[in-house]
Symmetry: C2
Subunit: 301 residues, 2 copies
């Protein structure tokens, strides 16, 4: 699982800071999460292959999370894309994109499929045989969802010497990997645990931006491998959180601790600060395993 | 008169090329012309004071000419702008901007005034005591206007020794500067040309992008100081002009020659080419005074 941070700053794009956008590589998928202005240039700068993106998840309709989407949709057309593009985001997003395409008289040549979100409860919005994606309802000034990406349980790993030794027909190998006991050629039931190793643990990623401190998300993100939680402000500006419905680094760390996640990544930094060390310091006072997002860097888990 | 090129490339923003946007400084105005994605970052990069922009002119509703507008409008709000912002552009632009503001629940705190254009004939769209702005109807795939910026005639310059010598009351100085003959203290009519110098010549700038080769614009841009004319293609790709309704460098130069302009600036280059010298060579074969636009440079006239 690899997370590429294209932008992790709030409000406005600037010379050296980009608004929210990231690409999660998980089980051969390349999921684009949020798409602030300039995302397509950030994709180029970070040498991420545009064409591999088939699913885009938009958290909410504040500009710093989606103003780059129309440009990307348009560029896909100019690049003669033919494969489907699925866009998941709040109701209204389709209207914005379609209106601009209508005015330009330039429809996409590829299938563009909108999945508009309106539910205030977590829902499963994408699923295949490898991954599930669920919404995480967040508490912000307008309708907002975070997204939870979970790998499906991996198969157990075959101990090839053991299965041969146990005289099991190859036709049963998949059953064993899936955790079933099977009979061998001699009619004896073989415990799958004796001829397979534990599956690789499943990984999961929860993206939570933008939101005020809200413990109601904790059951949804319990024990995730990686939590990205916004931390727009430092504690000295905590008063701004209530009005703007954002969080501090301490808030993010408290959620991470209570949800018992492995790793917390902080992002969505207000551009009012010079440097971001303060965010790490304040979060680490509550929760130890803290990373800072930075435009253009990647994390592997 | 100063022209700042923020972006002069067609189609998509890339790591080192920006879509169309430029700032014309003329008679203390700062006019923003087109606003492709990333324009606000280009404004910052080129150290242009955002707050001085009060008028934005959008040629047409292809993304590479306006996808950065919503972000700029939004950023003006975040920067607590209070002064009026006037936006001139094709019908539909207001709907796009207003829809996105409605969805974000974030109205501007400053007056945002749209001037939607629908006429197929040149019209005067802005005028004060210093400058006029007229549309230049262009011939592109969708409804498109270029813009003609013309200084109003300057006053003649007073020859202070001559007016004192001629015994003219100060009350008549403005009349003289405006080109009227006046009577002096002795009742003698004084020829204004004898006591004033020629006014500075008026300057004018014509922005013509995007358009196929079309001689119908020539009367509108006759004798302008500077013509910016798109040259998306080189001659070897001229066949593409008909389909895409764009021009070659030679087309642009032919228009410049026939309109007898002082200086031609080429821009809106297709990103298919490596380097832009070919554009200059091809244009100079027809018209001598050719400049190439380049992102981040300025021209003074």
């Amino acid at each position: 699982m690899k997370l590429n941070i294209l932008g992790c700053h709030s409000a406005t794009p600037r010379t050296n800071t980009n608004p929210t956008s990231q690409v999660l590589e998980i089980k051969n998928h390349m999921f684009l999460i949020d798409c602030g202005e300039g995302t397509q240039v950030q994709l180029r700068r970070n040498k991420i292959k545009f064409s591999r993106i088939k699913h885009i998840f938009i958290s909410h309709l504040h500009g710093d999370h989606y103003f780059g989407l129309i440009g990307l949709v348009n560029t896909f057309s100019l690049l003669s894309r033919e494969t489907e593009l699925h866009i998941y985001g709040p109701k209204g997003l389709k209207e914005v994109i379609m209106l601009q395409m209508k005015l330009s008289k330039g429809w996409t040549k590829y299938p563009l499929i909108f999945h508009e979100l309106t539910s205030k409860h977590s829902e499963l919005i994408f699923e295949d045989d490898k991954v599930e994606v669920h919404t995480i309802p967040l508490n912000h000034r307008i309708y907002t969802n975070g997204f939870l990406f979970i790998e499906k349980p991996n198969d157990r790993k075959l101990d090839i010497n053991a299965v041969v030794e146990a005289n099991i027909d190859k036709a049963y190998y998949n059953k064993l990997k899936q955790g079933f006991d099977v009979k061998n050629e001699d009619g004896i039931l073989i415990d799958h645990k004796k001829v397979t190793w534990e599956a690789n643990p499943v990984k999961s990623y929860a993206f939570c931006s933008d939101t005020v401190y809200d413990e109601s998300i904790i059951p949804l993100i319990k024990n995730v491998t990686v939590l990205y939680h916004e931390s727009t402000f430092l504690e000295k500006n905590e008063a701004l959180c209530k009005e703007t419905k954002h969080s501090t680094a301490k808030h993010a760390a408290t959620i991470a601790k209570k949800a018992e996640v492995d790793t917390l990544i902080l992002g969505h930094f207000s551009t009012r600060y010079n440097g971001y060390k303060g965010f790490k310091t304040e979060a680490k006072a509550v929760f130890n395993n803290v990373l800072l997002a930075k435009d253009g860097i990647s994390f592997e888990f």
